[in-house]
């Protein structure tokens, strides 16, 4: 087995950005790995994306026609299993996305592949190595895949740059895979969740609060502080899960991706899913009592101090 197979991702007729990030990730190990770099796209209209996927370093685009309009986990699983059989790659890269969570681990389990998810770095010595978080990202683990002829990695979005288009054309090949009757779920509809009173993606200054605020009864205090500060209030997921704040205010992978001039995070430890939604803010200031909180890894300014003491002082100063 040799070469690299990248699995692109589309949603509702659009190529998702992670697809071209995966091409960049693949290019980092293409030379030492040897062999070709192929990018596969699965879908009812797969061929439509062949041009978009013709990025630098890609040797071939593979298109797989699927008998369903949108992503279906069991169809994608069968298609990827079949692609691995026919193309015999040594390394397969997919995005660490909600879609992949529904089928990539099943492919790895059934085929006995090397496997790691949410990978943030890939290297190649004699074989592939991967890096990922451990203990809630407080440590990083280096992983090997001994004895595996093929390894499937799901790669964290937003880590690798988006690959630019190739200078010339890249050959495309349609791969016929029998996917009829494979689907085991039936799509009903898409629903846009969380339309709310405010669009936090438009705010220049977000005051964002998380678990550290401890109690629902403290929320009015932060609403008031945000107003005094001229900020818009946003939140991390636990406050939405608890029903304390509407999902329209949620920053993160499953909420909104924001890019304000200032992001002031109070009592947010910084789970991966949260960081995905705010790491590109111009200036990030984080206040947290845990000096090891992952949010300090992306913040420009940090303070390890009790947030209520800081809030007391902010309230006085802004009076």
């Amino acid at each position: 087995m040799s070469g690299i197979l990248v699995l692109a991702e589309t949603r509702r007729g659009e190529l998702r950005e992670v697809s071209l990030e995966l091409v960049s990730a693949a290019r980092e190990v293409k030379d030492p790995a040897g062999g070709r770099l192929a990018v596969a796209v699965i879908g009812a209209d797969a061929e439509r994306f062949a041009g978009d996927l013709a990025a630098g370093g890609v040797d071939e685009v593979l298109t797989v026609a699927a008998p369903v309009a949108d992503f279906e986990a069991h169809v994608w699983q069968r298609a990827l299993e079949s692609l691995i059989d026919s193309e015999q790659p040594a390394l397969v890269l997919a995005g660490h996305t909600i879609d992949s969570l529904g089928f990539a681990p099943a492919v790895a389990a059934r085929a006995g592949l090397g496997f790691a998810s949410d990978v943030t770095a890939i290297s190649w010595a004699d074989a592939v190595r991967a890096r990922r978080g451990a203990y809630g990202d407080k440590l990083q683990a280096e992983l090997e895949f001994p004895g595996k002829a093929c390894t499937l990695l799901t790669v964290r979005p937003g880590i690798f740059p988006v690959a630019s288009p190739a200078g010339g054309s890249v050959p495309a090949r349609s791969v016929a895979i029998d996917l009829d009757g494979v689907a085991r779920t039936e799509h009903v509809e898409f629903v846009e969740a969380g339309a709310g009173d405010v669009d936090i993606t438009k705010a220049d200054f977000l005051l964002s609060i998380g678990r550290g605020i401890e109690d629902k009864d403290n929320i009015p205090r932060f609403e008031d502080l945000a107003e005094r500060f001229g900020a818009t209030l946003s939140v991390s997921r636990p406050l939405v899960d608890a029903g304390w704040m509407p999902s329209a205010r949620q920053v993160g992978q499953s909420g909104k991706t924001v890019k304000p001039r200032v992001y002031l995070a109070l009592g947010i430890s910084g789970a991966v899913q949260h960081l995905a939604g705010m790491r590109n803010a111009d200036t990030i200031i984080a206040v947290n009592t845990d000096p090891e909180a992952p949010i300090f890894g992306v913040a420009h300014y940090g303070a390890v101090v009790d947030l209520f003491e800081v809030v007391d002082e902010l309230e006085q100063a802004l009076e």
């Binding site: 660490h96 006995g112 790691a116 992952p294 800081v310």
Partner: protein, 265 residues
């Protein structure tokens, strides 16, 4: 109706910790254990389904792969209302990754034949997001990952679920059961156990079984493993944050100053 909930006792690092001599694990003296947050939601979902069905013989079974610390997590599932629990362990499972754990769980489920299997989307320590879907793969069971709403017609053998996509988009879909669902936080409001229930939970059945007892030999579990951890290290922080020192009033003053500069600039 039988619902199996696969749970995990997760480890959080103490503020100060030491690695094992091989550098590939954390010294267990520096770990604190708790039931995975996601699993409190999947357990609650199972209990609500069982209670609303209200049938004789309906049961919720909590299962886990884990050493002795995991017993406490199973006891808390029993205290909240699970009917019985199964823990799989022997020393050969130390350090098992998501695929190896899924392989072991698959052997339990082959014995239990549930109508519905619920897992958390991910665990807070490993954050693989993989065990549930790998388990469905081994069992060739239909599955949906990252479920935020669940409406199950047990008699009709279908469920309508919401799948939470990125950016606040929801997909509504239907699936035939038996099926496996990975449950996202916020789907419900997990209950707390009463003191009385905690006491009663000690009387509920908690079975300890080895992989061998499930007909799995050590080689099969090892072959299933997807990776091997060769080293653990603190993350590279990049340039890192500039830390604001001093008392709360000094920190507050600096924050106001920085915000003022950045918003004016």
């Amino acid at each position: 109706m039988k619902i199996v909930v696969a749970v995990k006792q997760v480890a959080a690092l103490d503020e100060e910790f030491e690695l094992l001599d091989d550098g590939a694990g954390v010294d267990p003296d520096f770990l604190e254990w708790d039931l995975n947050e996601w699993d409190t939601f999947s357990l609650e979902a199972a209990l609500e389904l069982r209670d609303s069905a209200g049938g004789e013989g309906d049961e919720v079974v909590a299962i886990t792969v884990g050493e002795e610390e995991a017993e406490e997590g199973l006891r808390s599932c029993l205290a909240k209302g699970a009917d019985r629990a199964i823990r799989v362990w022997d020393e050969s499972l130390a350090g098992a990754d998501a695929l190896a754990v899924a392989r072991v769980l698959a052997a339990v489920l082959e014995r239990e034949s549930p109508d519905l299997v619920l897992c958390g989307v991910q665990s807070s320590d490993a954050v693989n997001g993989s065990t549930g879907t790998a388990l469905a793969g081994y069992l060739d069971m239909p599955r949906v990952a990252v479920v935020t709403h669940l409406d199950w017609d047990a008699a009709g053998g279908t469920a309508t679920v919401h799948r939470e996509l990125e950016g606040g988009l929801i997909e509504v879909l239907r699936i035939r059961t038996p099926a496996l669902l990975t449950i996202q936080t916020g789907i419900n409001e997990p209950r707390y156990a009463t003191l009385r229930a905690i006491k009663q939970a000690r009387e509920k059945p908690l079975e300890l079984v080895s992989p061998d007892g499930l007909g799995l030999d050590e080689a099969a579990v090892q072959a299933a493993a997807g990776s091997r951890t060769v080293a653990l290290a603190p993350p590279e922080r990049g340039a890192g944050a500039e830390m604001l020192d001093g008392s709360a009033d000094a920190v507050a003053a600096r924050i106001i100053e920085i915000v003022g500069e950045r918003m004016a600039g």
